[in-house]
Symmetry: D2
Subunit: 138 residues, 4 copies
Amino acid sequence: MTTETDNAAFSWPVRVYYEDTDAQGLVYFANYFKFMERARTEWVRSLGIEQDRLLEEERRCFVVASTDAQFIRPARFNDQLQVTVRMLRRTRVSFLIEQDIFRDDELLCSGTVKVAYIDSDTHRPARLPQMLSEGRET
Amino acid sequence: MTTETDNAAFSWPVRVYYEDTDAQGLVYFANYFKFMERARTEWVRSLGIEQDRLLEEERRCFVVASTDAQFIRPARFNDQLQVTVRMLRRTRVSFLIEQDIFRDDELLCSGTVKVAYIDSDTHRPARLPQMLSEGRET
Amino acid sequence: MTTETDNAAFSWPVRVYYEDTDAQGLVYFANYFKFMERARTEWVRSLGIEQDRLLEEERRCFVVASTDAQFIRPARFNDQLQVTVRMLRRTRVSFLIEQDIFRDDELLCSGTVKVAYIDSDTHRPARLPQMLSEGRET
Amino acid sequence: MTTETDNAAFSWPVRVYYEDTDAQGLVYFANYFKFMERARTEWVRSLGIEQDRLLEEERRCFVVASTDAQFIRPARFNDQLQVTVRMLRRTRVSFLIEQDIFRDDELLCSGTVKVAYIDSDTHRPARLPQMLSEGRET
């Protein structure tokens, strides 16, 4: 991976509904990964990329190659959260981002996601769209 | 719809995990529909139909056209449930089944599902596989 | 049920993410029920009711007693939807609403939901908050 | 963390249903974490621990403190998978396990999960049940 870093964090609001919680009364751990993907999708959209068109017209899609997360404090039913996206590193065919989940100023969950860009038919690596491969240092 | 009825109920076990529950401590209502589909999938498999092959080789799939459910008593985390499938009516291109969810002898949820068989490319109705269109009265 | 009707429809936007779709390329049928509940939660919030406080302070919660839905046309990945809530009937302890899901002016899914208000400890019916039991005819 | 290692892997079967897949035609990445938890729950049950009783009678529960996963090859609709659990390390109040997901002999996903044992009321660390804290070297 190359080492340029983009410190501008994108942020997206997520409300916690019953569907997101479990019988411990808290957000079910695997659902934080869904929240992160919602923010990631909106971040990609903010760069001008609509993934449905990408899939239909160019047969390209993003896939999660690996991820990790630390669950620091629990989110609860009805909480209003903010989910951030921060570019850490990128190559020609993948990028690594940090995603944090906050309730007000409190950090609840912190993770990284390595996203690969692939040909949806062959599942081979594809060259990232310019919007994502260009540095946006701040 | 024609009126033949198949009274032989197929039954499939489902265990309730944390992923299925919500902050009220019970199974989240929309997840009962997932349990019903698992049983429906296994029932179709028991008739000799593998839906992945159907989709890839014949470009055919089942879709839920309509459904309803009554939530009578709640299922809880760690419960062992049984989900039944009973054919109520069928036409050449769809069928209506009843699906009940039990914990031991206690009925927790009862619903019906109208399943249509379609061409996955055109989304037009397709003629049901013989296994499903043939009467199996008991 | 009494027969007063409230024709004012509340509407809430829902974006379709990958988490909501399935291998047929469309929104997974059970997830429409989640979309309906998100709109229902926001409608209840718009009436001044925060369900987390209700549960903690008054030990009361809403539960789905029964539901039905017709899946008319499929929603797809990345679609922007609108989900409506329209009061049909209410009693002292429950209400029946209609919920429709639109993509632009196209009706994709139409359902009804009977919601009961209960004591979260005893699971017995409880009298609806005034905000919900009062008629809001238009 | 102490360094004793338990090499005996527990394995649990998981079938992929439509609910688990997304519009890319593959298992949605966050759902692999659900599959891992199902296997984890059954592994804990195999040690004699029923988590619903634990929560009700002792006010204790397991929570995921952190997790990571590499998605090596995709699982597809209708696949029959095996999910393993292997103890890596444990302390008095938490343990670290490795969980792999296989289709036949093919490794699809590999992850680790750090599970903490807590008091469900105070959310403070609690001492692990003897079944889990005892070494089971092989």
